[in-house]
Symmetry: D2
């Protein structure tokens, strides 16, 4: 029986991660993004890769009141003694509907790239996109990464991420496929269904050739950062009880006073 | 009833965080650490503050096989469909014993600083440390942030963090108190009880004058990064079942074969 | 190193819990409440104890839309692939504010009983209650188990639980203390602050002389039952997205259309 | 926008669940299993249904040291302030590998029953089983509910559950299919792959014609009961640190002393 990790280990006087001395070669020498790469992949990212990873974590760090931040705030109301519980409750909502989509898009685009020749022309890309959309008609999941409940005319994060990808040499087959699928899908559905931020992030993870599970994982790291901000605000200026009251006011029964 | 967050909001065509346009002024412009600060505190950190925050997240990102990474890996074994579940299970172990200690130390040192004059001499620091240690004798919690099950002669991360703090102008009253408590505690217990990494991180959060809850929160963000690495490895080269077998082998009953 | 549990073990052909053969002596012979007792305490409860445990779990099983059920439903919206994640998110809100209060009340009443003689007269009970209320004035927590945001004139579950306790011989010092504290607290606050369901449940756990941690634990088991009902309904007739929309509608900014 | 649950609601003086007055008609009148049914399905179960539900929850309540109980114990070590966190961490391991299997088996058997006539003869059952096994060859999931790492010659809970089902009139098409699949699978794999407890529970949920999601949900309720027992024991006689030490001892590096 061998139980062993390559990520790191401690002895009485040393801590080693991926062959580097943590106090001497990592703390104060590598920043957080570089360290995540070192831990997960065993290597420090190159500069342009690091730029993209920062943008991915920044995009995943929540803003406003989403189901994830609401769940976290409601949890802190019930268990103020456990910040880790409220953060965990929030992250648990990062699944196939919201944040985990990034992983699903990354898988879809990376495996479509596998079936294409190097440097495919636009006709091949269009064909591959049409095939993906056609295949999705039979499944119950649909194509992940398109449409948004609020940003119905287009997700404003997508062009920013596309531009950054281009500037850093990461606008290749996955991005081209992602946009071609938008065309194909909108034609087939007869209404605009624009690529959303989770879809664009999935395309970038495929461009970076990172394992798809890492896409879901890093999206959760980014969101964890946003949750800290929301829970700090909740501690200082709570709104969870108002959210509860608001829901109860909708659920009133006949004349009975709540 | 007002339900409102200052952190951010979305309209059909825009996303705004802390008054900044997310696609135009944040994505690709600020890195992840700067964005966390912006979201949580409403401001971008200065350079030396950012250096320290990176070091804090890097130090909190796990290495080796700790109870937190073991719980996460065992959870992925049972529910491979939910990476977010395994990460949440891991983070739930970041409480008063392991990671949350950082918050408790930060609170202790920040409130001790409040009771001291500006620029206290060493005698005042020693007196304050002795008082804290004496007060802890009566409580059931003890002084958080000292001693380590593996690094019994001293935690190798502590001098690295102290040096980085000094270089960046963050070695003030909290750090001096933290070391003075080590002296006082070791004298009182009649054995060396060195400051550990959670204690040193708590001192730095107090130096940075950040809210103590943020100390616990950012420790969880850092750990979340480490968990992604462990769960990627678990997916590729699983060890959770071996951990289980190892435990069962210890729990064997008499002659009965398991 | 000994790693051993007294709760149960498996061999190739047998499963034994607390010395009983699971397939032969437990499945189909003991019901769920009896099995929980067997696992946790090593014994089957007597009939009147079982009646009370059933009532405790029934009372803890949620009804209506509480912060806990809302967090669970919002989590299922984001991660429909993981029912366990939505249930975990819900349970994480069962802490010091809502469900865990049961444990805190149980601890308070059980330790107050320790300081009283057997069969104390009403004057002694009143004195003990006054002392507890006076002591709470200095602490930041207050007395747990009193007041309710909706049931401001009294929690309708409390008389039902009191009556059941009386009928089963479990109306002793903890219940008498619980009601005396209500008097003392209302006098001191100059407004009625009635015992709530969590308080009454805490009194019953103290009557049953069960470990206080078990009070928090069984409250979570009961709530887990209620969460299954809510998540089944959410899967069939979802409301989480409406809850989100409702919150966003409150958080509208100026003229900007969401 | 309508936000409404049929499960229950509160007014100032009343609590109503599924049309019944909670204090007057439920607490002390219905036991926990009956209440779960009432909440989830809107009806009280008949006696034989209740017998089966009790057996299902009892079977799902853990025994011994499984990955789920280990994750919960390791989490309590790190965050002793939050029992709900340790329970949540445990439940998060109840997914597609371990406990959620029950749901998957229930879905598989219920939908196979749909495609069969009423009262099918054995040849039809065998044919349906062979078809399911053949179809599973192409998929990456395999047939859920068969084989066990410890009970390699047969899971001792299965005959107990089968007998109880027969005695209560619940041994119909799902059970017959479950056993026929065992035959078909063992023939095809050329080694015995016996039905396990999760498989048998899945068959019973299909016999009871309950929604498959309820199978996963109730398995979690049952397990929650077992987790309370393990965490009580962990609080009194902890083993989590020994588990950690045991793992570290396996991960030793060369001569370096840990």
């Amino acid at each position: 029986m061998t139980i062993k990790t390559d990520i790191g280990y401690s002895t009485r006087d040393r801590i080693v991660v991926r062959g580097k001395d943590l106090p001497g070669e990592v703390i104060g020498k590598l920043d957080f993004i570089e360290t995540i790469c070192l831990l997960a992949l065993g290597r420090v990212p190159e500069a342009r890769e690091k730029t993209m990873l920062n943008a991915l974590l920044v995009t995943a760090a929540d803003h406003g009141l989403t189901p994830i931040t609401l769940a976290a705030r409601l949890t802190l109301l019930g268990a103020p003694e456990s910040l880790q519980g409220a953060i965990a409750a929030g992250l648990l909502g990062g699944g196939n509907t919201f944040l985990g989509t990034t992983q699903n898009v990354c898988e879809m685009l990376a495996s479509a790239r596998e079936r294409l020749p190097n440097d495919p022309d636009d006709a091949l890309i269009t064909k591959a996109a049409d095939d993906l959309v056609a295949a999705s008609l039979g499944s119950d999941r649909g194509v992940p990464g398109y449409g948004h409940p609020i940003h119905t005319r287009g997700d404003p994060r997508v062009p920013a991420l596309a531009e950054l990808s281009t500037a850093n040499g990461y606008f290749g087959v996955p991005w081209r496929l992602a946009y071609a699928i938008e065309e194909s899908l909108s034609k087939q559905r007869r209404r605009r269904l624009p690529l959303n931020a989770a879809g664009a992030m999935g395309a970038i993870y495929a461009e970076l050739r990172l394992p798809p599970l890492m896409a879901r994982g890093l999206a959760l790291v980014g969101r964890c950062g946003g949750l800290v901000a929301h829970l700090l605000e909740e501690q200082e200026r709570p709104i969870a009880r108002e959210v509860w009251d608001l829901v109860l006011a909708q659920d009133r029964r006949g004349d009975e006073q709540i």
